[in-house]
Each structure stands twice: as structure tokens, then as C-alpha cells.
Amino acid sequence: MKTRDLFNRIHFFSAILASACLAFQLIIISSNVIMRYFFQSGISWMEEISKDVLMTAFTFLSMAIGVKLDLHINVNLFPQKTPQWVTTFLQKLKYLILAIIGFVFLYYGILLILGIKARIASIPILPASLQFIMIPLAGFLIIYDSVANLFNMEKDDSYLDRKFMSAGEKK
């Protein structure tokens, strides 16, 4: 399997995971409201899991997807007729900075996870480090995409769009 295909699959898996986190949050928060109003009880772990685990998971996973799809917003004050070499330099600088940030997420994210010994208060069976588990994965994906762009390696940036955007489309 080509490196490109392998990373496409990892990205696909991370997009599914992030979407699942979103959907799960939606379900547990709505269920909690219904239970609170109609059964005078609630899901004790709902708030902690949704804000501490699911929220960080889809934030960092979507950050990596944003890098792959070049979604993150920037300010473009350069005129349209900017020389090509300037544009190329700016692109390379961007990817270099992204690679550095990816490295910080990967390396220090792992250090952060290893340094946490506590457990999630409402579900003690789960380690508190679960909150940060997606940060190194996001870092890894950001490094790959930025390095691939930096060195003009073969990539397939429309892979995720092809997989998801046509889902459920009428023939």
C-alpha cells in the first residue's frame, strides 16, 4: 500500500471518529434534557465526557482535517500579480510552521498523556489522559500533510470530499 493511501485511510478514520464524537454528543445531551424534564434524572457523566473527552477529540481531529483540506483561514494582503517565487516561499513557510506545530502536538501531547495519572471523576474506569488522546494523532497527521506539501510529495487532498460529500446523494 502506498503511503498516500495509508494516510488517506487514517484521515478517513479520523473524520469518521470526529463525526461519531459529534453525533454522540448530540445524542447524550438531548437525551439528558429529556430525562431531566420527564424522568427527573440525568446522565451523570454527560457533561464531563462531552466537554472534556468528545470536544477535545473532534477539535483536534478536525484541526488536522482542516490542514489536509487547507480550510484554515488566513489573511491575503498580497496583490494578485505577486511573483511566483514569493507565493511559493510563503506556501513553504506556512507548511514549515504547520510541521513545527504538528511536532509540538505529537511530542508534547504524548508527554502530556504520559504525565497524567488521574481518572475521569464520573467514570473512574476511564483514565483522565483520554481527554488528550487525539492531540498526538492530530499532530501526526498535521506533520504528514505539511511535510508532504513542503516537499511536493504525492497527495490526494480531495479523498475525504469524494468519500463524504456524495453520501446519500440522489442518483
Binding site: A15, A18, S19, L22, A23, Q25, L26, I29, S30, N32, V33, E47, S50, K51, D52, M55, T56, F58, T59, F60, S62, M63, I65, G66, L69, L71, H72, I73, N74, V75, N76, L77, F78, L90, L93, K94, I97, L98, I100, I101, V104, F105, Y108, G109, L111, L112, G115, Q131, F132, I135, L160, F164, M165, S166, A167, G168, E169, K170
Partner: protein
């Protein structure tokens, strides 16, 4: 207390230079926080943790839900129904379609809360219709772009949630206790300014339409009218659930947003049934793409804000601004000018996250401005930036949808910039426009 000028220069300088060099704003914030953290010997795990902690906030969960809600409604044909509803009310007046354009933005903005979503979905329906009826292209695009900015002010709007979050952070950074701004009050505060902005655009559109002899729209039969009203009512219920639920106190903003998503899901997939249930996968993915921008920004801005506070930048800015003038009205003028300029060159969400911690201590803590009033003023300023060159996102989408160059789209916006600026001045200097509804319906908050 000693001020570390080198660290401040690093933090602000790296950010400023990299923004100008086209590096995405999220990563400008992150890298300047990382470099400054290294200089200050802050462990980088701590910087990464502050970023993660920044999004671990239950109120912020409303943002993904608002975005999913907008995507569902958009996918399910809400735009067409909203245009029909607006057409029913004002379509028969002179320049009917121009008025429809303003009114549907008011309705749709109230549901999606996004100016860009408004321009892309409503614009793709209304602009071709306007062109077909003989309206000038520039006018059609300019009106669509500017009217879409009401969506930021008219609730529910995820930018209001970002602002409420930023106020919480700002109050802590300023060294005070955590200020929990009522999202319900913020929602109510946006109604009158948003409607005022819409009315100003309606008047200008009407004057231009009469002057240029734009046509009236066609009428509907009673049966059609009833059908349109019912469809429109079902759509508008989404906004009612969110705003009503929060104001009455049935839901928190996050719960209301989650419920509104469930409602929108049922209406789209089980009542209208125009799209397959599998389309929800695409909806989640599209939402994720928007969230990639917003949530990453919040995470990076948290680390940046943490260092801004550590280096006392908000206090220094307060002192600097007050050294220029301590006259409240002049200060408001100064802040408005600054926000308008910044809005022209930077996007909305990053500016909310960066400017709130810096300006909140001056205007709210020192000068006693109401945080709801400050929030609406801030959002209005930045929403104007969305439709101005060189980086206005709504303007770019509008020119793409209308298939005209940016310059021509901006030319079409000119008369409406005037109406937006007049509304902004009124909202800035007449707090009652913002605070009447919140004080009336939520006096105890």
C-alpha cells in the same frame, strides 16, 4: 510589576508578521504562543494543555450544534422556503425581489447565524432570480452580501457563543472573577440592532428600486400562501426553540442548540423528506469542515490569551487607550474605527477571540459599558468587515455566486455600507437599542 517587553514583542510581533505572510491565523496564534512560551521557559506540555482546556467548556458545545443545525436546514431546502415566505410578505412591493432578499436574510440569518451560509444558499436562489427580472448584477450581489450580515446579529448566532466564551476568558485574564455572560441576554440584545440594520437596508433598496424602476413580484393564491406560511413557520420554529428555550430558562444554550438540531433533523428527514437519511453523513462532514476552522481557532486563541494575560497586555492596552482619551464617547469612536479596520483585514471569529480580552477591560471593566452592549457593538463592527474588501468572506462568496469580480460586488455594496454604518453609530451611542429587550425579558440575570 515588571513588564517583559521582549516577550510581548515576540508574542505580538510573530503573530502580526506571520498573519501578513499568509500563515493561517490559528497557527499564527499557536506558533507565537509556542515561541513566547519557550522564551518564558513555560513547558510546552502546558501550552498544549491550555489549548485543550480552552475548548473544554460546556457552553462552547452550542457552536457545533448551531453549525449542524444550519447544515441540516440548508440541505433540506430551507433556503427555498424562506425565500417563498419573504416573497409572500414583500414580493408585491416595487422592487419586490430586492426586499425579499433583505427579509429572507433576516429570517435565514435568524436560523443559521452565518453570513457566509446565508450568501451561498440564499444568494444562489435570489441572485439569479434578480438578474432574470432585470436587476443590476452589482446591486443584486451587493444587497445579498450586506443583508446577509444581519445573520450575525440576529440570534441564534454561534459568534455570540464565541463572544460569551471570550468574555469569560477576558474577565479571568483581567484578574477578576469569572464573568458568565447570559447567552439569553446576548440573543435578545441582538434582535433590535439586527432588525434596525435590516430596515435600513429595506429603505435603501426601496428607494433604489423605485428610482431604477425595478419590477414587482407576482402574487400567490390563498392555498399557496397558506402552504408557504406553514413551511416557513416550521423553519422559523428552529430559531424559536433556541431563543425561546434559553430566554424562558427551559434550556441552557447548549441544550437548546442540541434540541434545535433534533427538531431540524425531524423536519428535514421525516416531514419534508426531500433528502435521504444517509445525507446526514455529508451534513456531519460539512459541519466538521466548518468546525475545523472555528474550534481550532478557539483552542489556539486560548493559549495566546493565556500568554497575553501573563504578560499583562490587556492592562497595558487599557492604560494606553486611556492615555489617548478618557472620554467614553471618544473611546467608543476609537474602538469602532479600530474594529472596522481590523474587520476589513481579518475574519470574524479570530477577531472576537483576540479583541475581547484586550478591549473588555477598557470598555466594560473601566468605563462601565454593559457587556451585552459591547458584544453587539463588536459583532456589528466585525460583521461589516465580512462584506468589505480585501478579505470579507461574505463578499468573496457573493462575487462567486453572482459570477462578478470582487470590485464590482464591492461597488454594489456601497449604498448598504452607509446603512450599516448609520446603524452601527446608533447602536453604539444608544445602549437602549441593545439593552431594552434583555432588560425587559431577563431583568434578574
Amino acid at each position: 510589576m515588571i513588564v517583559d517587553r521582549i516577550a510581548i514583542t515576540l508574542l505580538l510581533g510573530i503573530f502580526g508578521v506571520l498573519v501578513l505572510l499568509r500563515v493561517p491565523i490559528t497557527f499564527c496564534l499557536a506558533i507565537s504562543a509556542i515561541v513566547t512560551g519557550l522564551y518564558l521557559n513555560v513547558p510546552l506540555e502546558a501550552i498544549v494543555k491550555v489549548m485543550a482546556d480552552g475548548v473544554m467548556n460546556f457552553s462552547l458545545l452550542a457552536i457545533p450544534f448551531f453549525i449542524i443545525m444550519g447544515e441540516i436546514m440548508n440541505e433540506g431546502g430551507i433556503s427555498r422556503r424562506i425565500v417563498n415566505l419573504a416573497n409572500l410578505f414583500v414580493g408585491r412591493l416595487p422592487g419586490g425581489l430586492a426586499l425579499v432578499n433583505v427579509l429572507d436574510s433576516m429570517f435565514f440569518g435568524g436560523i443559521s447565524g452565518s453570513a457566509v451560509a446565508d450568501v451561498s444558499s440564499l444568494g444562489s436562489i435570489v441572485i439569479p432570480m434578480m438578474k432574470k427580472q432585470g436587476y443590476d448584477e452589482e446591486f443584486a450581489v451587493g444587497l445579498t452580501v450586506c443583508s446577509a450580515c444581519q445573520g450575525i446579529i440576529i440570534p441564534p448566532s454561534h459568534n455570540m457563543i464565541i463572544y460569551a466564551f471570550a468574555v469569560g476568558t477576558a474577565s479571568q485574564l483581567a484578574g477578576g472573577s469569572l464573568m458568565v455572560l447570559s447567552v439569553g441576554k446576548l440573543f435578545l440584545g441582538g434582535y433590535l440592532p439586527g432588525i434596525l440594520m435590516g430596515l435600513a437596508m429595506l429603505v435603501i433598496s426601496l428607494i433604489i428600486a423605485i428610482k431604477r424602476r425595478y419590477p414587482r413580484g407576482e402574487g400567490y393564491t390563498l392555498k399557496e400562501a397558506f402552504h408557504i406560511l406553514w413551511d416557513g413557520f416550521l423553519a422559523m420554529c428552529t430559531a424559536l426553540i433556541v431563543v425561546g428555550g434559553v430566554v424562558i430558562g427551559v434550556f441552557t444554550a447548549t441544550e437548546a442548540a442540541a434540541f434545535a438540531v433534533i427538531y431540524a433533523f425531524i423536519i428535514t428527514f421525516f416531514v419534508h423528506r426531500e433528502v435521504s437519511l444517509f445525507r446526514f453523513v455529508k451534513i456531519l462532514y460539512s459541519s466538521l469542515k466548518t468546525l475545523a476552522i472555528v474550534m481550532s481557532l478557539i483552542a489556539a486563541a486560548s493559549a495566546y490569551g493565556h500568554l497575553l494575560s501573563r504578560l499583562q497586555v490587556p492592562r497595558l492596552t487599557t492604560e494606553w487607550l486611556l492615555s489617548i482619551t478618557d472620554n467614553y464617547y471618544l473611546l467608543l469612536l476609537l474602538v469602532n474605527l479600530m474594529l472596522l479596520i481590523l474587520g476589513c483585514i481579518m475574519d470574524m471569529a479570530p477577531l472576537i477571540l483576540i479583541c475581547t480580552p484586550i478591549l473588555y477591560p477598557v470598555l466594560v471593566l473601566k468605563m462601565g459599558m454593559d457587556p451585552v452592549h459591547f458584544g453587539i457593538m463588536l459583532l456589528m463592527n466585525l460583521s461589516i468587515g465580512l462584506c468589505t474588501p480585501p478579505v470579507g468572506a461574505a463578499l468573496f462568496v457573493g462575487s462567486a455566486v453572482g459570477k462578478i469580480p470582487i470590485e464590482r460586488a464591492a461597488k454594489g455594496c456601497l449604498p448598504f455600507y452607509l446603512s450599516m454604518l448609520i446603524t452601527l453609530i446608533l447602536v453604539t451611542y444608544i445602549p437602549a437599542l441593545t439593552l431594552t429587550l434583555p432588560n425587559l425579558f431577563m431583568p434578574g440575570e
